[in-house]
Symmetry: C2
Subunit: 135 residues, 2 copies
Amino acid sequence: MELTHIEHIGIAVKSLEEAIPYYEEVLGLKCYAIEEVKDQKVKTAFFRIGQTKIELLESTAADGPIGKFIEKRGPGLHHMAFATNSIENALKEAEEKGVRLVDKKPRKGAEGLNIGFLHPGSTFGTLTEFCEKPG
Amino acid sequence: MELTHIEHIGIAVKSLEEAIPYYEEVLGLKCYAIEEVKDQKVKTAFFRIGQTKIELLESTAADGPIGKFIEKRGPGLHHMAFATNSIENALKEAEEKGVRLVDKKPRKGAEGLNIGFLHPGSTFGTLTEFCEKPG
């Protein structure tokens, strides 16, 4: 499997409106996009830092994955995403090596990326995502 | 404040011995160093991926910060570390802007870096570290 860099770090927050000023005014990053991902029941805000993006995630429904995460654990680090040039191969290889997949096939994520998640139960507790730029 | 990239992502694990093979054999990363940081009661394992490192953290004592974290929340993502060329300025600026610091002054962390932590209570739930290469 060839993973090239950390594509993004996903962080659950209660409110984008409250958290964005901290990332902009304290850390000096710039929010360059806000996007709603309806099937995940989240609104996301993106910041670039070097090769990586920070993706803040605000739940749009209490029963969505981020709503449930915050209820259980509070806001904070949610997932880690690796960039790959071949997500099909990366998911296939992980599964062959015994990793339980959340997504058996790539699906569309924020920013038009092809994405797939590995289950934290077989990655030593870290919800892990693979991302591939389409085309 | 000028933060250049994600220096590392810190991940709490129950056992380096159990987790390292997943990072090496499934994700294809290479563990290039194992280091004990006695005052933090942890043993760390490092992997490079692009500009960033993954730092696995195993507690060496139940009453250490990682031992307590795992007891409360289970293993998984623990902290996010930004690289900066001036940690003194970065900590000072964060404090001036109302962020509560864990470390008022830089201290030595793993790999000889000068490091300082911000308190998750004033960073919207994410334990956040600044790192500076000495010299």
